[in-house]
Symmetry: C2
Subunit: 546 residues, 2 copies
């Protein structure tokens, strides 16, 4: 072994550390863990989603031994199509995880390019120099795993997203025994999920949702429309169970929901009797009180089925006054406003809307403080690095470890782009790599960058004001009235008066012979507009001399 | 009495009903209650704040008997300057409320135009045909009132923002006796605060904040910087008390905070010993462990002191590594993301940041479900109209009343713009008036309208692409290469190649003689851009013929 050093590289920009993608480097070989997307902040205008900038891996792509996906949620698989187009490495994951990956890749025409290799929790795999032990964890999706990663630098435990659910929907609790075994062996470093580090106590079990859903369905006078994420297979199972008990038919609506449900049924992760499952077409023709429909849109996305139902623009069906809509998710931070608007719009259309403050129809998939402490005490690592959280959550998680007696020197806080090195039983901060996120805009080829974002924000703030001048090249007099176009500036009635004013001023200035330079005319126009309106739209002046 | 009908008009658009402004009409006379602003939604780009559209009152301005302000928060006083410039009516409010109004009007040069008339809780006032009984309510600001409004149509109780705090900072609980007296007299209609209708239980007392603040200050190794709203006078009092106990000096930073504190001290609502209060200049030169600074910015506003401290752009002082920053407020819905970013930025600068999930340094000023039920049971109205909430909260509040045995027919749900009529002991929905919000952009004169917002969003989504052509009017040939300007579109390196492509295509098309119309060239450019980039920026083509 030339260099028994393990380098840990959380990829991405300021945001949740290592949530979407991490790299472990050892002996010039790299193990990538997860390849997910993030939803854009409200000020990232026009962006559909963002993915970690993994340029760091470009010139190392032939040293990448494998990509491990811990579970099938978008924030862990959503960047895989982009990663695979650059990095031709095998992808390891459990059966359901790879099922979800396959559905997603197929939709992007990438399925044939991927080398997908199924693994099972409990299995040990040698991937290059990394011995990877997969252990089962509970999360809001079945078949999620954490990783024990052994190299010459020691044993690292990477929890992935997890919670300690004693009564999970699939009856498969987090693998306490494996964690204890790691502990007995001696864990050098624990990387643990910090998402809920600000929540005291213990996250409720998924089991509480079942009776709540059943009660909603039992009491609903008409159709029940349940919205959640398309990858929340366990919520599908709970809805199916409740539908069966309440003698209703279940239909999935929307391509991603239908595809995922089909795949999960085929693989045996979703058990729905054939006589319960119907197509949406059939469901829409049944008496409303016999129907449950599952769809996406619980985050208030305008283009989702729920978004379109709330706006009255859904093609296949509309909201009916006796419909009961269940939003079975918490708003993702930043989505509170669109979710609230969607709720109000559906209420306005006469639907009954059930959301988390009304009934326990959603629980978090992440460990709260007491579970995070349990993880620390089960694993008893020498070093601890909180991951999967913004700095505020990492700090709280670090604080919990300190309260439990861990020394501050043994806790390492690193944000994305900050590498961490483990060697000879010691840990330290390594180099900073240039990181960040890449903005993805639908099927756009190029990717927007921060400069472009800034310009868009400026455009959005006060609109544009274009002045087009044609000037006689000899006399410097205008050949025509200045042509003026504005957008996003002031209402058209107000704009008209202002346009006259600008036209006159520009004409006066040019004919006064004072100015002829584009820049100078631009300044005159900007000053005039600001004095009249106190606004600063982007001003463009084009001058044609003829 | 020609028409013993009371008409209730909640002004504004879709949003919190009657929160910012309501009108009561009786016998052709109008009583306005509150004149506040709202903060814009995230998709209202470039807007500083929004106010209710009160056009309904324009042609009735001479029938407006008075404007009553229930308390001094921005969402109840912030539109007053705009209202008074149209409606020259007297403004009634308690001493502290009018103090805050005065500070605000003075800043906008409106102080001399306002006819401010102080009232006291407990007082009864005849304002035109309205007998108004002011009663004290607890809220997160002292000197807040609710109203009993008696006309020939009966007795209406309007709670304003309230909570039932048994141990308020100013030792002045909500006036239970007056509510009971109303009840004994017989209340026809109760309009009650629905803000927290989704919160079970009882809102904690303001008193819990005192010890929490004191603990933070006692344990802080350096300066303590406490951020809250400039109008939260009781938070100032609690901070001052904690500073005194911990032998620290207190300074207020920022114009609105300084002005409000000065006014509140002058009127006796804020008690700070002279030896405790120092100017910011002095505070910045004291040893850090002797200093508490209060400022604004708890909502993550970039232009506030906290916003600038988090970005490292504050002029007077910077964050120091030993600083403790306390964000003493909950994020207003929609502000979760900027608040979280601000917390992360300050942590990154080495400050310790205390926010609501860490310590009880903020409580709501609004009644939770048990208090809302208590209000209903104290007042025992014949009819109930939930106000101060979006439809989702109004529904929950209505649900509480139903659970308490109130008949659904006696509960009236009305959104802004929907008038409600009370006459002869009967209630019904009246006419709908055109409502909405008016967008205010800084000191801009005109106001942005929804069309302008839509254009801005479109500009922001994909940027702009301007093509300027100069064409020989005889030969229809280009006199020059097409001039092309883009903003917010694609990064400049990518744009260059595309611009060449567009230039060539446009030249080819024009010289091919196929097209000469502006619209047709625009279509060619749009198609080319979309095919190359899958984006749809706003395209402008200007043609000069010479």
């Amino acid at each position: 072994m030339t260099n028994p050093k393990l380098k840990i590289v959380p990829l991405g920009g300021l945001g949740e550390v290592g949530k979407n993608m991490m790299a472990y480097e050892y002996d010039n070989q790299i193990l990538v863990v997860d390849a997910g997307l993030m939803f854009p902040d409200n000020d990232m205008i026009g962006v559909d989603y963002i993915i970690p900038d993994f340029e760091y891996l470009y010139d190392k792509s032939h040293n990448i031994a494998g990509i491990i996906i811990t579970h099938g949620h978008e924030d862990h698989i959503g960047a895989l199509q982009h990663v695979l187009s650059r990095i031709p490495a095998p992808v390891y994951g459990t059966q359901l995880t790879l099922g979800l990956v396959e559905v997603k890749l197929a939709r992007n025409g990438m399925a044939s390019k991927a080398d997908l290799r199924p693994v099972q929790a409990g299995q040990t795999l040698q991937v290059g120099p990394f011995k990877v032990e997969f252990f089962h964890v509970c999360h809001s999706i079945p078949d999620a795993v954490g990783l024990g990663i052994t190299t010459g630098a020691g044993l690292v435990v990477h929890t992935g997203d997890f919670k300690f659910d004693h009564t999970p929907v699939d009856n498969w609790p987090t693998d306490y025994a494996k964690l204890a075994e790691f502990s007995a062996r001696g864990v050098d470093l624990l990387l643990s999920d910090s998402t809920n580090a600000e929540r005291p106590g213990w996250t409720p079990s998924e089991k509480v949702i079942g009776p709540a859903l059943e009660k909603v369905i039992a009491e609903a006078p008409g159709r029940v429309i349940i919205a959640t994420f398309a990858s929340l297979i366990s919520r599908m199972q709970q809805t199916a169970d409740a539908a069966v008990k309440q003698h209703r038919k279940l239909a999935f609506a929307g391509m991603s929901m239908v595809d995922n449900a089909k795949m999960a049924r085929r693989l045996g992760y979703l058990l729905v009797p054939d006589e319960t499952l119907v197509s949406l077409d059939i469901a829409l023709n049944l008496p409303p009180e016999q129907v449950v429909i599952m769809c996406t849109g619980s985050q208030g996305e305008p283009s989702s089925i729920i978004g379109r139902l709330s706006a009255g623009t859904n093609r296949q069906f509309d909201l009916l006054p006796n419909d009961t809509v269940v939003l079975s998710s918490h708003p993702i931070p930043g989505n509170e406003e669109p979710v609230s608007k969607t709720i109000n719009k559906m209420l306005r259309r006469g639907a009954n809307v059930i959301y988390d403050s009304i009934a326990p129809i959603h629980v978090s998939g992440h460990a709260s403080q007491e579970e995070q402490k349990l993880m620390l005490n089960l694993v008893r690592p020498r070093y601890f690095m909180p991951i999967h959280g913004e700095l505020r959550q990492l700090r709280r998680h670090a604080g919990l470890a300190e309260e439990m007696g861990m020394s501050r020197q043994n806790i390492i806080l690193a944000e994305n782009g900050q590498t961490v090195e483990l060697s000879n039983g010691e840990i330290r901060l390594g180099e900073r790599i240039p990181g960040g996120y890449v903005f993805v805009e639908g099927s756009a080829i190029g990717d927007a960058d921060p400069d472009v974002m800034r310009e868009r924000e400026q455009l959005a703030r006060s609109g544009i004001f274009i002045v087009n001048l044609s000037v006689d090249k000899y006399s410097n007099r205008l050949l025509d009235d200045p042509e003026i176009i504005t957008r996003g500036f002031v209402p058209s009635d107000e704009a008209e008066a202002l346009i006259q004013l600008v036209r006159k001023r520009v004409t006066d200035v040019i004919h006064g012979g004072g100015l002829s330079m584009q820049k100078e005319i631009m300044d005159v126009v900007k000053t005039l507009i600001f004095n009249e309106t106190r606004r600063r739209p982007m001003v463009f002046v084009t001058v044609t001399k003829a």
